[in-house]
């Protein structure tokens, strides 16, 4: 399950948004402007089942997300969804991986404390005996120039999505 974010855990001034999560529904998220730099040399690794429910996280995932391992395992991966990310990016991700292909892109992730961190994410379907049994997501430190390109691009995609839904 995934619950609304709790103001008690937020560090610094925050704003409130409602995001629509696929097959889950609305979630209230609280976001700050605090960016946490991606640590050098690390990979953030997680695995999910075919529905996107987290089944495994590594230590770097726990440290960067701010959640405990117990909070993460069993939660949908969209627990990290930041309201600045356009829905189209995740639609593209799911369309790609459910076809058995690898997806790669730059993602702004939301932390439990309302802060965020940028990653270069690669998601691979776990194909066993010809069947997709889950997905592995590996995040690494992004090239900052690519992140700076994504910021206006995602903002404009978000704007179009909001205009389209009105």
């Amino acid at each position: 399950m995934i619950s609304d974010m709790n103001p008690e855990g937020i560090v610094g001034e925050y704003s409130e948004s409602i995001i629509q999560l696929y097959e889950i529904g609305p979630r209230k998220v609280l976001v700050t402007n605090n960016e946490v730099p991606y640590p050098d040399g690390r990979l953030i690794v997680s695995r999910t089942d075919t529905k996107g429910i987290i089944t495994h996280v590594n230590r770097s995932f726990v440290e960067m997300s701010g959640y405990s391992e117990e909070e993460l395992v069993g939660a949908p991966h969209s627990i990290l969804r930041h309201p600045d990310m356009p829905r189209a990016a995740f639609k593209d991700l799911w369309d790609t991986i459910t076809e058995g292909r690898i997806w790669q892109g730059y993602v702004k992730n939301l932390r439990k404390d309302g802060g965020f961190y940028w990653v270069k994410a690669t998601v691979i379907p776990n194909i066993r005996k010809g069947r997709i049994v889950g997905y592995t997501s590996v995040r690494r430190k992004p090239d900052r120039r690519r992140v700076e390109e994504c910021i206006p691009l995602y903002a404009s995609m978000k704007k179009k999505e909001q205009e389209g839904s009105q």
Partner: protein
Amino acid sequence: MSYKFTVSPDFSPDYLSGWFIFNTWLQRALGRSFHLEMMDNFQQLHQAIDEDRIDLIYANPYDASMLVRDKGFVPLVKPRGGADEAVIAVRADSDVDAVESLFPGIKVASTDDPDVHLMGMIMLEPAGLSHDSMEIKQCDNYVLVAKALLKGECETGIFLDKAFDELSRPIQSQLRALVRSEIQVIHHSLMAGPRLQAEVGNLRRVLSTMEIDPKGQGVLEGLGVSGWDLVDEEETEFMIDLMETLTYSPD
């Protein structure tokens, strides 16, 4: 019947005799004949694998996908605490204080050790560097990588962490690590090929108990390994998936 055993060519030369002693120990422990053949380079190794000439291999993680998914190899054991990690280093007197300060067009000293080179390239990515934007000087070993930095032939170098830490004091004092990987799940493993399938159970048994056998202990020391941990197929499949995410390039 004699089985063919080989070791990924990125093994440390310090352990060359250790692998031959291990081969002798294994033949006695298993009551089977193994012929150990060392390959000079990865090209030679890949040709031997391609021609199905290998039955047992201490494999680089980079080759795990081909061995398991294309050639039907089964993972047996991995060295305890033996995850492969990489170090990006510069000369101690270099102005560069972070990977992001490196610039396109730089010369990078590396080896043909595929998983370490891959991890190094991943750590250079935040500087916007790729194979297209750097010149690689391929060295035969990590001491030569260090020398390429010290001679000023290259601005930065990619090292296996253990090799970097084992450089002599005088060399190490002239180098500085910019970043070390902490990936933790990429490791070499001993794998058995299709002709050894009937022996997989016995291999796992003798290898996993090797450390409690006094003779086995000595043999392990000769390889710089404290013991073998069993590896199951899913752990290896997971590592293969992870390696594929690191080698993936949509371009």
